[in-house]
Symmetry: D3
Subunit: 338 residues, 6 copies
Amino acid sequence: MKRTIVCWGELLLRLSAPGHERWLQSPRFEVHVGGAEANVAVGLAGFGHPVAMLGAVADNALGAAALGELRRAGVDTSRMRRAPGRMGLYFFEQGALQRPSEVLYDRADSAFARLPATAWDWPGLLAGAGHLHVSGITPALGMESAQAALDAVRTARSLGLGVSVDGNYRPKLWQAWGGDAPGLLRALMAEADGLFVNHRDLGLALGIELDRGEPVASFAAAAEAAFAAFPHLRWMAATTRGAEATQSQSLGAVMIERGGALNVAPPQRLDGIVDRIGGGDAFAAGILHGRSREWSTGEVLAFGLAAGAYKHSQPGDALRASEADIRAWQAGGADVRR
Amino acid sequence: MKRTIVCWGELLLRLSAPGHERWLQSPRFEVHVGGAEANVAVGLAGFGHPVAMLGAVADNALGAAALGELRRAGVDTSRMRRAPGRMGLYFFEQGALQRPSEVLYDRADSAFARLPATAWDWPGLLAGAGHLHVSGITPALGMESAQAALDAVRTARSLGLGVSVDGNYRPKLWQAWGGDAPGLLRALMAEADGLFVNHRDLGLALGIELDRGEPVASFAAAAEAAFAAFPHLRWMAATTRGAEATQSQSLGAVMIERGGALNVAPPQRLDGIVDRIGGGDAFAAGILHGRSREWSTGEVLAFGLAAGAYKHSQPGDALRASEADIRAWQAGGADVRR
Amino acid sequence: MKRTIVCWGELLLRLSAPGHERWLQSPRFEVHVGGAEANVAVGLAGFGHPVAMLGAVADNALGAAALGELRRAGVDTSRMRRAPGRMGLYFFEQGALQRPSEVLYDRADSAFARLPATAWDWPGLLAGAGHLHVSGITPALGMESAQAALDAVRTARSLGLGVSVDGNYRPKLWQAWGGDAPGLLRALMAEADGLFVNHRDLGLALGIELDRGEPVASFAAAAEAAFAAFPHLRWMAATTRGAEATQSQSLGAVMIERGGALNVAPPQRLDGIVDRIGGGDAFAAGILHGRSREWSTGEVLAFGLAAGAYKHSQPGDALRASEADIRAWQAGGADVRR
Amino acid sequence: MKRTIVCWGELLLRLSAPGHERWLQSPRFEVHVGGAEANVAVGLAGFGHPVAMLGAVADNALGAAALGELRRAGVDTSRMRRAPGRMGLYFFEQGALQRPSEVLYDRADSAFARLPATAWDWPGLLAGAGHLHVSGITPALGMESAQAALDAVRTARSLGLGVSVDGNYRPKLWQAWGGDAPGLLRALMAEADGLFVNHRDLGLALGIELDRGEPVASFAAAAEAAFAAFPHLRWMAATTRGAEATQSQSLGAVMIERGGALNVAPPQRLDGIVDRIGGGDAFAAGILHGRSREWSTGEVLAFGLAAGAYKHSQPGDALRASEADIRAWQAGGADVRR
Amino acid sequence: MKRTIVCWGELLLRLSAPGHERWLQSPRFEVHVGGAEANVAVGLAGFGHPVAMLGAVADNALGAAALGELRRAGVDTSRMRRAPGRMGLYFFEQGALQRPSEVLYDRADSAFARLPATAWDWPGLLAGAGHLHVSGITPALGMESAQAALDAVRTARSLGLGVSVDGNYRPKLWQAWGGDAPGLLRALMAEADGLFVNHRDLGLALGIELDRGEPVASFAAAAEAAFAAFPHLRWMAATTRGAEATQSQSLGAVMIERGGALNVAPPQRLDGIVDRIGGGDAFAAGILHGRSREWSTGEVLAFGLAAGAYKHSQPGDALRASEADIRAWQAGGADVRR
Amino acid sequence: MKRTIVCWGELLLRLSAPGHERWLQSPRFEVHVGGAEANVAVGLAGFGHPVAMLGAVADNALGAAALGELRRAGVDTSRMRRAPGRMGLYFFEQGALQRPSEVLYDRADSAFARLPATAWDWPGLLAGAGHLHVSGITPALGMESAQAALDAVRTARSLGLGVSVDGNYRPKLWQAWGGDAPGLLRALMAEADGLFVNHRDLGLALGIELDRGEPVASFAAAAEAAFAAFPHLRWMAATTRGAEATQSQSLGAVMIERGGALNVAPPQRLDGIVDRIGGGDAFAAGILHGRSREWSTGEVLAFGLAAGAYKHSQPGDALRASEADIRAWQAGGADVRR
């Protein structure tokens, strides 16, 4: 029987201006439910995995609605807490041409961020699970969240779960409370057997400069350093993005297994992007799915890149696609399917 | 030349579920800009007064948009501050039948509430103004806001401005920081020459029981106590509401001038309410307008009640009507105007 | 074979603020196609009659779209002209409670109004038709339109068609060009065998006071005067409306045939009105339909009133209902039909 | 531990014209997921019960989306089948005044209806459940569905589950295949310990006339007959509806336990109804909830009626309310809750 | 006088998810009326032809609304039947990037498909017409529809009408009833003087392999075979499509007259496609229009291709453009027209 | 203290079909407030300038709403008149691919256009201002508007204000009243120290042919002629546009100061344009802003071009961007800003 994948992190409500409008240009917001780890959970549920979300939402109607959206996508929310406080929000404005999209966070003091590290019963929460996915956003929320993140990955490792960590370094969040980003991220990464990081995130965690002037070489350097620093680490993957315009970008990816050769999936053009948010999370979902299928690293990487790219064709934060959908993308040919 | 009316208080963004839906039943919010004092400001601008809003919004795009909405309604925002922090929000769900509408506040730690009392240059802010309107919501936000409110009304009085205070007692806000609601509200009311309060608000401030079993008698008792307690007070007014159903209510009003007889405007039926939010603020705007016109108290009260009732016919937080619109309402006859 | 009913008059685009909003409160308009005579045409088409609209629209895409809407409703537009100029518009704001709905006309200098009286080939336009319906709005548009209206009804009469005229006195339109409203309306009515007028319209046309203090008696007086003044007249009908509130009104009706007794359909309550525009035109359609079926006057009147009342349950300018729909309304019982 | 309540029946997509428009008056449909039994399931989930839906959806994206909506509402869909065929649909048009709402079914040949009776593994589907709820719509879909319904209730009874049956007699569905409605409904009811039926449904099933000229007396007569005919039956309940207008109706209810007195909850006015669909299903959910709490019959009935009435204040097919929401409704007072 | 063009086939309602959403991602559908032959009819009406639609819709409100949409576009629906059964539907999801758009048919057992071949009075339906257009979708619906299609084209030929046939081979529809697709399509094509087919459709009908590795050569081979097999055939045309991405494709076209040279219109890029559905039908309308104008084959082909490409710039199933619109497209230059 | 920039011209309401639909394809219009000069005013307000709009709106609710929109954007409307008549309108349809967007003007006889030249108190209107911006659209509205335009620029010059003129030659408007376009535009330009014109506008004004076969050379020739003809002229700027497709264009710009070298900003690709309307006005705002900052001509031109291009990424008529937004555009890199 397939074991449950669990993702731990904060759920956010996204409030988007319609179309390409400025905020409040017309008096409406469109709402999506997101969050880096929740997006991975939804993506994996779409690929048919049993997935459970861990975390907490506000104990009000918005929190309940956010849980409902995860359930709608097929994610088990029975282990989620409802805690006092507010829902984290972010406001989103969709750019165009060379006008970038903008994110305005309003997530301070959320029900999730206010929970003490001791609030989480890790052995209970991880019971029956086969894999834990976390991201570097959570420790950035404050010391309690950081401690909880370390507790989570350490307990998971001790219980024999697979552990994946997405770097997701967000300087503004760390600066807000003066947390030791390098130290905490390094400690988090040290428990992972899989990392979604590029040379910038890893260089920060290790305190070394890994930029080799070009994404693939930099990733190779980062991987070498990571395998040296983190003995538990078995694989590492990252996307490479070129953002010429808001709706016209390119997306490639790189992946390496310990002891294996570097796999490079060359950038593909994405002209006419619908929504770029969650592309990295969809990539992560694709990689985790591929690894669970025990495909070759090259196949895993190609699938992950296609999943990440596919997300750009859909509104909302999370990938909503089946494995067959991603396969069709990879096969190419975009005429109407009847 | 007519002198400017200034209103000081917090601006909020209201996020409403469409129609009569539950929050996030469908993934959209409709947005309005509101706030008890801003609603009075917009109402007065509609009646042709020069009005300036005082206060602070977040120094981000949402704050700027909120200011724009006030300007759109004809309110001067040039004295508004833009301060660090977030915009106060509230979520709104429109009920029906005996299902009540619901408000979920998300306004803690707003840019406005975080400002220290010393941030406000009252002589400068009040320069050239003829009247200041504040409400009891602002001191409920915290000690700094409470001190600022007292500074505001005291400076206004010392500069010879008229001062009106709307009671607006909100227990949840006071409890959140353990403020001395009675003492602070009493001190605030003591500076007013006009009060929008009922017997409950006044009883709380004075620490006495004023309920006489029926609204009009209770108001009369409250007025007697208020004129005794507050030597500067010249008039007092309140609405009386019967809420049989969310869309079917009745609204009456009472008003008294020091030394004058009690004026009672009997309740009128409001069947088919569009949006009840801001009804009391529209009433306040109507009363202030009528008093500025030096109408008789009975005329002032009738106009104020019509303004408050009229608001129930419009979506959004603030009354958007001219004096002629209110007059037409009073004249009755609701067939299409061509 | 049933002969075609033709309606002649101006088509207008109606631009409505959404819900109960003020104009441009949010940046959208909803669009309907209307016009007093076109509404009658659509109503009759819904009852299964062959109906043709006569008139003119602007020779641009908006005019073409307006024709398309009539065709959608089953009205023949093949005799319509496309002429230089603009489409007549009107802006609409839906009130609530005692706040009335408002109409803002922007129809001056329309393609229809600019056509000279000589532009209309009446014998050709009326070929094959059995009945012509016009209203008093058209002669109010200017001398050319007034002359054309007289030409229309006189030609119709000479060709043996039935002729119905809806009074629809609009003082603002007449004042704009100083037309002789009484003389022209009287001349128009003189050609009709059926009139939709109340005592006000008829009193104006005949220059006599017909108000008897109450609608039914006034209508009776008006009918007596009308049958005396207009030898061709065979019947006359009118609605009686009580407009306590925008969404809560009452609608009754009266009708009389030359030499017959007065038929009175007592007012029925309409609580929860969706859209009151076009109620009178739907009444006219119902009366014309009933007469074509050769029902008794009482049956005709009851059906006409039900058609007029039914329109209040539908958004848009024109009644969209079958005879069976109106029959079901008359039978009462408003539970879901499955 | 509370045992799961299971509901078995067809899921439908409802496609509604916006506002009070006729179908396709504007080119949009709003979509809800419903079905008599699913509505009960969603209502019960809102009251905090573990609930599982049994049944089948089309094995396409619409079927998957329908399941997602149930999960969003907190209903377990893990026992649902995905079967070849189409999703059942119904089109809905919201009336107003005396214009009734209309339902147009398009559900023939659905994936659910095409399944043979042997497709359902009742012991497995009912494992761990404490109660089964079905309705008389399902046997009306065809012989296989009818047989499956009988298998379901018989297996449930044999396993010791509670069984409730909602009559829901739909003549059009029975006529379509010539099924023996009385015989099959009687056999279904015979297994129930609780029935949601009125005198019409029961009279049909038993082949006797139960109309006593007035709803309460007729229900009493029906209950007497039912307790005589069905030895397993322990209680019976029904709503009584007065439908003066589409948005203005009254709703009462009656309930009786075997050997107990008749409980009558007098009709309450519902003026300003938002959506009447699913009112009976919400009543059923309320009754089942109250009984699970072991309240008195009078309390159960009052709660059920309030739940049924509450549904009329919400758009969509299913009640979305907590026990506290219903309690607040019962307590009365509909002013804004802050 | 220009003679009417008649198109015979099924009308469908298309229900589209908004924007690029998955079905039911948000709870709305946008509705269009389409169908291969109806799209040709609407396109031709836009070019100024008298066009009548032949066929049948469900005898319910949806069928009536579908007819209304055709009339709105200027198509005569007076020869349409209203028959028992349901409207055929299809659900549509708009892709993006390499995510293809998806069509989910729900058209089985429609009112149209259920009609027996004997239901169609071909001499009456074709009276006064100059041309009949049908497609290969209709015979795919079942034996009765197939027989009716043959009756139609044979009667048309015998009455001297022009006949065009669009191949439109849909394997899923044929497989559903096991029809003899090659035989029936060949019999249908044998009556045409014009064919819209490519080498795949024709190869199927004739049972020969016509793929020459590249679209133009394959079409040439197909044309040679077609002129040999079908003595009545005078011309043949097809589009050539390259679908690199959902919103970025290329469209070319080829056409040949019996005895003439092959005309090739090279592919043009379509970057930023709005809606690709109906592109082939718009091409057919353009070709039929051009031929009716007796332009040279090259001019006809260029116009047809421009019409087909133009459709990609418009939402909905059918081209809505005038000849002048297509001419402007051909002339190039896409800046705002004022 | 920065002095106010004043812009004089007509305000228009723009009514747009949703998405890429044809007018009234669905029954809605989206509304924006625009006008060549108002767009410049809004753009400049976004850059932080004190800006006042001069002109007149209809003295009805639409006029008031239009003023509100300007205030919302930060433009002072206190000098605006409200005059009898109608609001100028224009209808807009958004094209796609090679289907051009279309503008249908409905602005004849507007409140603005009906005002006599003597209605404008130029010394009062220009009091305290530092710069006046007008366009060649205003004199095209009629002799009174033309005279007023000349009065405006002459008074401004005599008072020492800077004067900029945007050519904006619109032949249809001039032809409607037979105005002397060359003479009036030449007289207007003669008062400017800055011109936004290309060789076509200038060639028309001066009656000479300035086309040199390519935009840059033609602009150079035009500038030479302009500096010779207009002794007050100090600078001249223009955009160069390539419109390959409605959503895919290129935009460059040229600018020259008297006695300086020609500055050329090469065309940049704009692929995925949201709304092209107001691009030239945004360019003008950018140039005026840059000049007020006393940047080099090259810097001014680059900023102006970026501002003009940026507008293409936003819905609506006017640029809504800060200087920082434009700088970010210039810096490139369009990934999400968090």
